[in-house]
């Protein structure tokens, strides 16, 4: 120190300047200590909750900025959201919602039943072209009876309705034909209101002073910093610049575990990885070949090799949906048995080795999985050639069912209907497998239109038994989801659906 000072007044002045700047930075930091600094991977493509479904957008808008009529608790149970209670008519075709009173939008205007009705109509509006429209396909009309009562008329009873409503944001009335306004300036009823968006930089939210449950909100605001590089996010949480990394990959999680001042939270994700089969042409049009593929897979080994051991072998529904999921142990063909696979291929009458191609989603974890699967299938009598197209080409081939096999990932939900109906029912909107099984169709129709829970559970149990062994998708894994949390952040809870809704209850020490 002495030596440095001896070097002259210029340096001393510079040093003093630096100290002053550092002090200033500290003071500035203390003043805004109540704003939570979060680092997320990607910049959102837009902020309209009815248009963007990309995860980078929805994690920021749904929960922190917007709320739905219904909501989810940490254990994924449906709880009241903006609706305090609801009742269904005897035939199940009319559902009446009683809304919470005293709810205001971020501009201070009260939220009324007309806003809810308008929001639901907006999702169905052709001008907006919302990808969420299929979730409200059962809706016939939405009417505001009075300021706090909403009546929903349905074409047929809909069991998944309440779950669907958790993901449909309530926006101010009168935007039915407008698809631009909310993309840039979101306006919801949630705990935080939108303040500033610097594309590729950050999004800053401030506490919504008029929030209906304002006592719960302790943060002055949340700043989502967009930091695309995993190593950089890791540096940022290490030196305290960020207090939360909501999503950390398995490799980084291993490195962060045990670091001082950083706690890791984990849960099993609802989205799953899968190998899809094209059932419209040989060899996967043969049910025995599909069964053989399941026997040829060692899911535990795939998870260890490709996902750093972080994940659970995947039944058609994730185990966290306790009311619905069938345990993997109850699916006989989940036992790894290459000999049996070869026997089944012989029974099917196909010449071995069966040569097929597998189109792989361009994402590192999926590529890793595909390579392990290729090698496992090789032992059981398949010869798999991997195809690695870029994303656009992948999507195109996927959409046009231009594949023998594909390796990819599917979004999760809390509702069995979301997993099965679109993907596996005959003519379903994402049934790229070209799969058709009348028996399964009957079960899925029943699961959708029956309101009686035990009867629904029975239907989905049977559906999972069919899908698990002879269906067009071999479910591979539900990966583990990690969050890294600085020790000064409290009240944050990781959600299996990646929701950041718990920020409304979090606080900084």
């Amino acid at each position: 120190m002495l030596r440095i000072v001896k070097q002259g007044p210029g340096l001393r002045r510079a040093l003093r300047c630096g100290v002053a700047a550092a002090t200033f930075a500290l003071l500035a930091g203390a003043a805004s200590a109540q704003t939570l600094e979060v680092a997320v991977e990607a910049s959102p493509a837009g902020l309209d909750p009815h248009i963007v479904t990309a995860f980078a957008s929805s994690q920021i808008v749904l929960g922190p900025i917007y709320e739905g009529l219904t909501a989810l608790d940490k254990d994924l149970n449906i709880i009241p959201g903006l609706a305090q209670s609801w009742t269904a008519s005897a035939d199940g075709k009319t559902v009446t919602f009683k809304l919470r009173s005293g709810v205001t939008f971020h501009d201070g205007k009260p939220m009324e039943a007309e806003d809810v009705a308008s929001s639901l109509r907006r999702v169905l509006s052709k001008d907006v072209g919302s990808p969420l429209a299929s979730r409200l396909s059962a809706m016939e009309s939405a009417t505001a009876v009075d300021a706090t009562t909403l009546e929903l008329k349905l074409k047929e009873p809909s069991a998944p309705l309440l779950a669907s409503l958790t993901g449909i944001a309530i926006v101010p009335r009168g935007l039915e034909g407008n698809k631009d306004a909310l993309q840039r300036a979101p306006m919801g009823t949630g705990p935080f209101k939108f303040e500033e968006w610097q594309p590729n930089g950050f999004i800053r939210l401030a506490k919504h002073a008029g929030y209906w449950n304002t006592a719960e909100v302790k943060l002055a605001g949340v700043k989502f910093n967009f930091v695309p590089e995993a190593a950089t996010r890791q540096v940022g949480i290490g030196n305290g610049q960020f207090a939360l990394l909501p999503h950390v990959d398995a490799a980084t999680a291993l490195q962060l575990k045990g670091k001082p001042n950083i706690a890791m939270q984990e849960t099993t994700e609802l989205a799953y990885t899968l190998i899809g089969m094209n059932t419209s042409k040989p060899p996967f049009d043969n049910v025995k070949v599909r069964e053989a593929l399941n026997y040829a897979l060692n899911r535990k080994e795939i998870i260890d090799a490709a996902l750093f051991g972080s994940g659970a072998p995947a039944a058609p529904l994730p185990a966290v949906l306790k009311d619905w999921a069938v345990d993997v142990k109850d699916l006989p063909c989940y036992t790894y048995d290459p000999a049996k696979a070869q026997a089944l291929l012989k029974e099917a009458g196909v010449a071995t080795p069966v040569t097929v191609s597998m189109t792989v989603l361009p994402r590192q974890d999926i590529r890793d999985i595909a390579q392990v699967v290729q090698q496992q299938l090789g032992k059981a009598g398949f010869k798999v050639e991997l195809k690695n197209p870029e994303l656009g080409q992948f999507v195109q081939d996927w959409r046009n069912s231009n594949f023998d096999l594909f390796a990819s990932t599917n979004a999760g939900s809390i509702e069995p209907d979301d997993y099965f109906y679109r993907a596996f029912r005959t003519g379903g909107s994402t049934n790229v497998f070209k799969y058709s099984n009348p028996e399964l169709d009957t079960l899925l129709d029943k699961g959708r239109a029956t309101l009686d829970k035990p009867a629904r559970q029975a239907a989905y149990r049977d559906a999972q038994k069919i899908l698990g062994c002879t269906g067009p998708a071999a479910h591979i894994a539900y990966p583990t989801l990690f969050s890294a949390v600085r020790s000064n952040l409290q009240g944050y809870d990781i959600y299996a659906n990646r929701s950041l809704v718990s920020l409304g209850r979090a606080s900084l020490r």
Binding site: A21, A45, R184, G201
Partner: protein, 317 residues
């Protein structure tokens, strides 16, 4: 001189026209239906939404008409709106061009500025031990990719001086010190390969110049070594240097893409990457056009600088 400039201007227009055609055709040349692919990651796309987007991009009209409409708007600075945010594309670019320009300039000043004295010293000490060390260092600097260097520097600084390793970007007008602090590491990462490249170039050019007759003459006149080196040799050595600086600017724009990604700086590079990832074609078209035009203009400036440095080039054309 005037003819020289006019000739260059004409060349420039032809190049720009070529670029505009390529950028325009891009959206039509990719295999498959661009709109379906653009909406691709989303599994619940309706035919109505595809039709609406095709209409809003003007893809339902004849090709020549589309090009004319696109070009006539583009020359007025209107590249349409960003597909996802609905903001005018030029507005998005304007918001993110400054960090990149600042970073480019900063690293160019660092890299090229240091390259002249370092190259001169290498030439002065040619064959000596210091020259050898600097040459080996220059080769290392050339081969190490800047994004890797960036990550290593970031992790090292974060371990040694955590409070210094701030990420992101603040505008100079808001916080000058914070701005420079945040740009210093990425600028060094980008400047090192430039320094390595240019200092070798200066060394060779200086050695070449020092062997010429006019240098012997200058020495024979009794000029001091410093004057010989800087006033006579360097001036001639600068011509290849200036050419390289022009090319380096193009390199910097490319390098900035990855370095911006590492240091999470909201610049043009991140804008391009993001636009490609989300298949935001109007934004991709506009950013590529802006970057190429920038590159072409820099090269035109380099040509102009030749004429300033070397009077012979003025009369030759």
């Amino acid at each position: 001189m005037l003819r020289h400039l006019l000739q260059r201007g004409l060349d420039l227009l032809i190049v720009l026209f070529g670029i505009s055609v390529i950028v325009f055709l891009m959206i039509r040349l990719i295999p498959g239906d661009a709109v379906a692919i653009m909406l691709g990651a989303n599994t619940e796309v309706t035919p109505e939404r595809i039709a609406a987007m095709r209409g809003s991009l003007g893809l339902d009209r004849p090709l020549l008409e589309q090009y004319w409409v696109w070009l006539s708007r583009a020359v007025q600075g209107d590249f349409g709106t960003s597909i996802w945010t609905g903001r005018p594309v030029m507005q998005e670019i304007a918001a993110q061009i400054w960090p990149t320009l600042q970073l480019t300039l900063f690293s160019l000043v660092l890299g090229a500025g240091l390259a002249i004295p370092v190259g001169c010293l290498m030439a002065h000490w040619r064959g000596g031990r210091a020259d050898l060390v600097l040459r080996v260092g220059a080769i290392a600097g050339l081969t190490i990719p800047s994004f890797w260097l960036g990550i290593v520097m970031l992790i090292t600084v974060a371990t040694l001086a955590p409070s210094f390793a701030s990420l992101g970007y603040v505008p100079f007008s808001e916080d000058p010190l914070g701005n420079l602090q945040r740009l210093l590491l990425p600028a060094i990462a980008l400047a090192l390969p430039i320094l390595a490249n240019l200092s070798r170039l200066v060394r060779t050019a200086m050695l070449d110049a020092l062997g010429q007759d006019y240098i012997r003459t200058a020495r024979a006149k009794g000029l001091g070594e410093r004057a010989v080196l800087y006033r006579h040799a360097l001036r001639n050595a600068l011509i290849p240097f200036v050419t390289s600086v022009g090319i380096m600017t193009g390199y910097l724009l490319g390098g900035a893409i990855v370095v911006e990604q590492v240091f999470s700086i909201p610049g043009l590079g991140r804008l391009i990457l993001g636009a490609i990832a989300e298949r935001n074609y109007p934004l991709i078209q506009a950013t590529i056009l802006v970057v190429t035009v920038g590159f072409v203009l820099v090269n035109a400036l380099v040509d102009f600088a030749y004429a300033l440095i070397d009077p012979r080039l003025r009369t030759a054309s």
